[in-house]
């Protein structure tokens, strides 16, 4: 394919040929004609030789499997075969998403002798979770004068599913002290008159069940006073995470992506909750995605979520009104509901009122601030613009959280670093208050 610059030069030289003939200046006529035909010959010889051979190269990509974890190295082998009887010279590159760090022969120059088979390998490691494509592999070659370029596309595309890194889900491991900071010692829900474990005594009031009166303490102080035994029992609650997985979560760059960070925090919180012998379930939702994982008092739903997010990429839109409907329809038992969203799409808040959003379940909303995911640069002008945009965004989020707090849904603005702490703080509060049991 002749490049635009190639057409430009050919047009200029053609014009000079015609003008030289109009002027009748023989030397320049010869010069411009030879120059024109050298340029065109270069294109014709290139197209009929090296460029045509490029389409004959056999290329195959091989991978041991198509599943990996974040930051985990994965080896890709690319096999080139020259079936022709001529030497083929070309450049190549494999198309990779920007979430991959690639090292090795993912691009380069190759000279293949007739019949030669060359095996090249490169290693990729992903910065973020999700399903990504590897390929198509592009072979290209330019003519010596760089007037045209020929690209042969090897259409085979491989998919790689990337799950969360072990380092991101540290709460899965039991030996870390930090894993207990939020959850240790809140397994029990105190409730007088029920349960099997003795908790303590207090003075009897008329509404107490007389069956729990501690008769051995009767008249302990003034001879007439009655005391009641307080018992406690372990109560389990279900926590549901409603995760906005719309394209609005696809913010960030490099190794800082909103959906990746949110999933890490959700998984960490979920492992902590599961270890606390409470149930945890998930709803990954957008206009394109609707994946529901029912709550169970085990790590099984969390493993399912890990598998699920390795096969998904944020897409579609997100609207909060739909979420409340889903909560009402899908969660039959009482449960604590955590909704995580950056509110990237316009919402018709005027339509929402306490009746619409009343689900009968304690609901907490974590509104994500996107400032942490914006690209930071040293440029002072850019910094100022970013700061200004960040302040505006914060103001909007404050208005949103204010609205939800006003109609009975506890909403907080969460940033990248504090999301896990906020999950666990709200979970602890719900646990202590016996919400969701």
């Amino acid at each position: 394919m002749i490049k635009k610059s190639g057409y430009g030069i050919l047009a200029a030289v053609s014009a000079s040929v015609l003008e030289s003939i109009i002027f009748g200046y023989d030397y320049y006529i010869i010069f411009s004609l030879i120059l024109f035909f050298i340029l065109v010959s270069d294109i014709i010889i290139f197209n009929n030789g090296a460029a045509s051979d490029l389409f004959k190269v056999d290329v195959e990509r091989k991978m041991a499997d198509n599943y990996g974890r974040k930051y985990q190295g994965k080896t890709v082998e690319v096999i080139f075969k020259n079936p022709t009887k001529r030497v083929i010279t070309f450049h190549y590159y494999d198309t990779l998403s920007d979430i991959f760090h690639a090292s090795g022969d993912f691009d380069g120059d190759l000279v293949l002798a007739p019949g030669e088979v060359r095996r090249l390998t490169y290693e990729i490691s992903a910065y973020a979770i999700g399903k990504y494509q590897i390929g198509p592999l592009i072979l290209y070659i330019q003519d010596p004068m760089k007037l045209c370029i020929t690209r042969a596309v090897v259409p085979k595309v491989d998919e790689v599913k990337i799950g969360p890194a072990y380092s991101d889900i540290h709460t899965q491991r039991s030996e870390r002290l930090s894993n207990f900071l939020f959850t240790m010692g809140i397994h029990y829900s105190r409730k007088s008159g029920q349960g099997y474990d003795f908790y303590g005594i207090r003075q009897y009031v008329e509404s107490d069940d007389f069956r729990y009166i501690a008769w051995n303490k009767y008249g302990m102080i003034d001879g007439e006073d009655l005391y009641i035994k307080q018992m406690e029992e372990e109560r389990q609650i279900d926590v549901y995470f409603f995760i906005d997985y719309s394209a609005g979560m696809n913010q960030g760059h490099g190794d800082r992506r909103m959906y990746d960070s949110v999933i890490s925090s959700v998984l960490n919180a979920s492992y902590s909750i599961a270890k606390n012998r409470d149930g945890v379930g998930f709803q990954v939702i957008s206009s394109d995605i609707d994946e529901f994982i029912p709550a169970q008092k085990s790590q099984e739903p969390i493993k399912k979520l890990e598998k699920l997010v390795a096969e998904l990429r944020p897409s579609g839109e997100f609207h909060i009104e739909k979420i409340f409907d889903i909560v009402k329809k899908r969660i039959k038992k009482n449960a604590v509901v955590f909704i995580v969203t950056p509110f990237s799409y316009p919402e018709a808040f005027a339509r929402l009122n306490a009746r619409n959003i009343h689900t009968g379940k304690p609901t907490y909303m974590f509104v994500l601030d996107s400032y942490d995911f914006a690209e930071k640069r040293d440029d002072p002008v850019y910094k100022k613009l970013l700061m200004s945009a960040g302040i505006k965004e914060r103001r909007y989020l404050k208005t949103v959280t204010g609205f939800f707090n006003g109609i009975g849904v506890k909403a907080v603005i969460s940033r990248d670093k504090d999301l896990l702490a906020r999950f666990l703080a709200e979970y602890r509060y719900a646990r202590m208050q016996n919400l969701g049991s």
């Binding site: 053609s14 320049y28 004609l33 035909f37 014709i44």
Partner: protein
């Protein structure tokens, strides 16, 4: 950096025909052009070279905007749409033929300088062609001045009128004959003083284009590049000479432009159609049709 330094002498050799013509033409037009804007516009490539990189990229668009704004201001003032004042008087450029010549010639000299500092062969050839055309126009103008004792401006009008008539003749009749009236190529009958120098410059320019591939190592695939370009030089030379002789033969009948145009267009069409991507697309479309 090293490659760029090697490029400068090669570019200089490629641009040599333009440099020779510029040296011949400029002394003759000094009295016609507006000197200050001519010099300022001509040295713009040098100014761009010394401007730091992030700003250098926007230099020419900025110059173009300034020049266009000046022209717009002059049009507005000429139409009496705004009242003139001392500041506007400073910016007034007379909208006449001398200004057009100044701009054209400055553009030509700037192209020569840009060609010398260019980073690729394709750009050098482009700048060479771009700068040569207005300079050849000027050679024609100088020829008319000497041949018919015209003033510069009379010769200038005549030169462009003849060119336009020749082009119209080519488009309408397919030759440089209109109703039996011939428009002979002017420089074919005239030998100007730097002719031998020009011939040498054109040969050096061609040699420099070939030398580029030997001297400049653009990538690891140098051997392959040299193989391809050698064939292109031989084939190009042969085809160029054949077409030149055809042009010479048909000159007597006034069909030289037509023959050259046909040869150029046919070769261009063949070059465009030889693309393997086009063939691959055609094959896949054919397969799809058969499958259906």
């Amino acid at each position: 950096m090293e490659e760029n330094l090697k490029m400068i002498p090669i570019n200089f050799a490629i641009m040599l025909p333009s440099i020779v013509l510029a040296i011949y033409v400029i002394p003759n037009i000094i009295g016609v052009v507006y000197l200050a804007p001519f010099i300022i516009l001509s040295i713009l490539p040098l100014v761009r070279k010394i401007i730091p990189e992030p700003f250098g990229r926007n230099f020419y668009p900025l110059v173009a905007v300034v020049v266009l704004l000046l022209i717009l201001l002059n049009l507005v003032l000429a139409a009496n749409l705004v009242a003139t004042n001392w500041f506007f008087n400073l910016l007034i450029i007379p909208l006449n033929i001398e200004t057009a010549i100044t701009l054209t010639m400055a553009l030509s000299v700037a192209s020569v300088l840009e060609g010398i500092f260019s980073s690729s062969l394709a750009r050098s050839i482009g700048f060479q062609t771009f700068s040569l055309l207005p300079l050849l126009d000027q050679v024609f103008v100088l020829y008319l001045m000497q041949q018919y004792s015209y003033t510069y401006l009379q010769a200038y009008y005549e030169a462009y009128s003849q060119q336009i008539i020749s082009l119209i003749a080519l488009v309408v009749t397919g030759s440089t004959n209109i109703f039996g009236q011939k428009f002979p190529p002017p420089l074919s009958e005239y030998s100007f003083p730097i002719d031998p120098l020009m011939l040498a410059a054109l040969i050096i320019s061609l040699i420099a284009i070939m030398a580029y591939f030997v001297i400049i190592k653009e990538n690891k695939l140098k051997g392959e590049v040299l193989g391809g370009i050698a064939s292109a030089l031989v084939l190009g030379g042969v085809l160029g000479m054949i077409v030149f002789y055809l042009v010479q033969i048909t000159t007597g009948y006034g069909y030289e432009l037509f023959v050259a145009a046909v040869a150029l267009v046919a070769t261009l069409i063949y070059a465009a159609r030889s693309s393997p991507e086009r063939k691959a697309r055609k094959n896949s479309a054919h397969r799809a049709k058969n499958d259906l």
